[in-house]
């Protein structure tokens, strides 16, 4: 077990006042709030800060933490007193309670001090209560949204066993991802959340859909965008091309005199659904390199044949 230096987490000295603790936390919380922050490790940092603040904001828990001594270093191996962890309940960040990829409940520090600061209180103490709803994210590919898919979702959740110990339980759910799903939408799986208490029914599981970045396609709601590189003569003279799309491929007529950035809309070829999206083919012109005498000669001929000043507007 590693020692956690809560003061260091919040960037504070050990003699910080309660006011300083509060303002340090507030400042960092705004910076690293996972819904606001773009930092890669925001979620982890935010959890650590929350844990540190919960202990330090209360003078009593702060005092018992301080009793461990000032000589510990962050990450140093640490042996907690025996049986200090009996009977705690897990808590955590509201909507993500004990769930998802980065949860690390069962930690001594969170148990030791978290318990005293009101983690895990509330509904579960009632005789009968509906289980908690759980939330997680599921990553899918664009193609899954076109065709529908079955995806295995691995979830890890802490459960309290018969002896009052917290164990991590892994479970895998096979979920039917419906055709036409879009990023940011949520799936509800009834009864797959936390177990009910007494005769209360189980909570639900909510899965938020996230698309993995696609090497070719860009997605905006129901619409899908793809870049199509063209040779200058294809853009100038028009062409008939076979273009790969998520559902296979299409024959596409490129109109003559097309310019870079021109969008060709393929109606109804976006993400399917009640209102099917469109697929936009965005034209891009790629110049052939003038790396042979032949190519240079061809460019010179073009220069002579076409009086063209691209900077006429400057």
């Amino acid at each position: 077990m590693k020692f956690k230096d809560y003061y260091e987490t919040l960037g504070l000295k050990r003699d910080a006042t309660q006011e300083q603790i509060k303002s340090a936390y507030r400042k960092l919380a705004r910076k690293f709030h996972p819904d606001v922050s773009k930092e890669a490790d925001a979620e982890t940092r935010f959890k650590e800060m929350g844990e540190a603040y919960k202990v330090l904001k209360d003078p009593e828990t702060r005092a018992s933490y301080d009793q461990l001594g000032a000589n510990w270093q962050n990450g140093q191996d640490f042996q907690p007193p025996p049986n200090a962890d009996a009977g705690f309940e897990f808590g955590g960040r509201g909507g993500h309670a004990g769930f998802g990829e980065s949860s690390d409940f069962g930690d001594y520090f969170e148990r030791m001090f978290g318990q005293q600061t009101g983690f895990g209180q509330g509904r579960r103490r009632q005789a009968h209560a509906q289980g908690e709803d759980h939330h997680a994210k599921v990553r899918i590919d664009l193609e899954d949204a076109y065709r529908g898919a079955e995806r295995n979702v691995s979830l890890r959740m802490p459960v309290v066993d018969d002896h009052g110990h917290v164990i991590t339980k892994d479970r895998t759910l096979s979920v039917n991802i419906p055709k036409g799903i879009r990023a940011g939408q949520t799936l509800r799986l009834s009864g797959q959340g936390g177990p009910g208490v007494g005769e209360g029914k189980a909570g639900d599981l909510y899965l938020e859909i996230v698309f993995r970045p696609h090497p070719r396609y860009r997605i905006d709601g129901r619409d899908v965008y793809v870049d199509l590189p063209l040779a200058p003569w294809e853009a100038a003279l028009g062409a008939s091309l076979t273009v790969p799309i998520p559902e296979g491929s299409v024959e596409l007529a490129i109109p003559p005199n097309s310019v870079v950035g021109r969008k060709l809309r393929l109606k109804g070829k976006g993400i399917p659904g009640k209102e099917t999206g469109d697929l936009y083919v965005v034209l891009n012109v790629v110049l052939p390199p003038a790396d042979t005498e032949q190519a240079k000669e061809a460019y010179r001929k073009l220069q002579e044949a076409i009086p063209f000043n691209p900077r006429a507007v400057l």
Binding site: G94, A97, T172, S174, T186, Q192, D220
Partner: protein, 105 residues
Amino acid sequence: MSKTVINYLECQVVEEDIHLTLFELCQASQASEEIIISLVLEGVLEPIGQQAHDWQFTGPSLRRAKLAQQLTEELQINTPGVALALDLLERIDTLQAQLTRLSRQ
């Protein structure tokens, strides 16, 4: 560690298939009734129905309520502040999507 595999679960798309009652929204977002009601008064959530007991919340409400609950609890922002933060976050999302759409790889 124990492992359980449950086969092939059907699910509903929250945004399209279902409406949530006030109770269900509180349960799913872990926000108190008080918070949800103040979000409705602030115009952050727009349920169908006149009275609180027959409110029906559409899908996007869940995402907003969840975010609002976290912002309220973790950053101790008041309701008008949450409303502003949600609007700005959604604007950032829209701009981000536009940027992705326009960017070339």
